[in-house]
């Protein structure tokens, strides 16, 4: 008897080959899972922040922490070079009506910063009214800030110990619409910018900006009492020529960045 039967070998090889062809032709691959979405994941909480009357100690009332806030401006120097930047030293979140636009003899905030509300998940209820005192623009160059800047901006010099909220010295914003940004966690803000500048009467321009919310966080330092904070950042830009600013030292387009921090101490 042949140790190696040709017939047996043939049958075995044909069986293996046949099985191989059948298995390779009929076997279904494991389905490739659907690709994960590459779109931005937007998560919004349900935080509601209201100023109330800014009563100290009431943790339900949120107070503007002005010392840790900033309103910044920037524009291209001579419209072509790098950025010329500055900040406004005095600002607030209050709806300045005509009756309130006057001088206040105080070194602190002249008016309560209560003209705002923020609803994280319902922007239709959110709103902001803010102002800056133009003559408090600070570029780090006293010669500019107390010199040409005053006349260029159509305002008056700072009077020590006085908060000047008169018509010639304030630029105001008032939000008209806030809605979700579909592509991010931010909000799209439509606001009215009102400023007299060097014009005869104040000009109001509708501007669209972006609002970013830094969610409420509880903080504690050492043994002092814990409290909560949250932040808002408003970004927008405007054309200073619309408000009669003719200086060629600055570009037409001015970027504004409002960084506001709040706490509930």
């Amino acid at each position: 008897m042949k140790p190696f039967s040709n017939q047996t070998l043939l049958i075995v090889l044909l069986l293996f080959s046949g099985y191989g062809y059948v298995a390779s032709c009929t076997h279904k691959s494991v389905e490739i899972p659907v690709a994960a979405s590459t779109s931005t994941v937007i998560t919004r909480g349900n935080n509601i922040h209201l100023p109330g009357s800014m009563v100290t100690g009431d943790t339900n009332q949120w107070k503007l922490d002005k010392a840790h806030c900033g309103v910044l401006w920037s524009g291209n120097y001579v419209g072509a070079a790098g950025l010329l930047t500055g900040r406004f030293n005095q600002f607030g979140i209050h709806d300045l009506t005509d009756a309130k636009m006057t001088n206040y003899i105080t070194t602190g905030q002249p008016l309560l910063d209560t003209s705002w509300a923020f609803y994280e998940n319902d922007p239709t209820k959110s709103y902001f009214n803010g102002y800056v005192q133009i003559n408090t623009s600070n570029t780090g160059e006293p010669g500019r800030d107390a010199g040409c800047n005053i006349s260029t901006m159509g305002t008056v010099a700072i009077v020590a110990g006085t908060q000047n909220l008169s018509l010639t010295n304030v630029a105001r914003i008032k939000t008209t619409n806030i809605k979700f940004d579909a592509l991010s966690n931010d909000y799209i803000v439509t606001l009215n910018l009102t400023w007299k500048g060097t014009l005869a009467t104040p000009m109001t321009k509708s501007i669209v900006g972006r609002l970013k919310y830094t969610p409420k966080t509880r903080v504690q330092f050492g043994t002092s009492a814990a409290y909560s904070v949250f932040g808002l950042q408003l970004l927008f830009q405007f054309n200073c020529r619309d408000f009669g600013i003719t200086s060629t030292n600055i570009s037409d387009k001015i970027d504004i960045e409002c960084n506001m921090n709040f706490n509930n101490k």
């Binding site: 043939l10 076997h27 691959s29």
Partner: protein
Amino acid sequence: MDNSFQSYLLYLELMIFFSGYPLLYALVSSLSGNGRIVKSGLNLDTMLVKTYAVTGALYLGLQIRKSYYSNSIQDLTHPSLLIVFALLSILCWLPFLQKRKIAALLHSLFFFIWLLRSFFLELSSDSPDQHVLSNNMKVYTTSFLLNTVVFLIIWILYYIARRYSGKNTR
């Protein structure tokens, strides 16, 4: 063999040349006992072994060609162990081995079993890929066809040689 692409190419080359021979061997060997084949005087066993030797020579040619185009003699002077083993098929040209067709079969069975192992490893894995399975079968089919064509060419050459020698003896 590691999991590199070069190793996979080496695997494919070896399978294409040698893995299809056992099936051809089995088919031809089962035919060699056929009455008509025996009457024709054709020695299919010798032709089988010669087929394997030619396949080995073709593989050697491929290695030389690759070495030539890579501008490196090192591939030729320092081949891997698998390539050396594969090139042992050239020894089937020796008259001593032509009488022992089992040697060619055993040599090719190494590659056939390797292909079989790869196939069943893929089939039994957690997520077998049909493309890998069908590729293995394509390689096997190509090898079988290659060996079959070589066998047929040798058969034709044998036939022509016999007819020519037959005319000369008249």
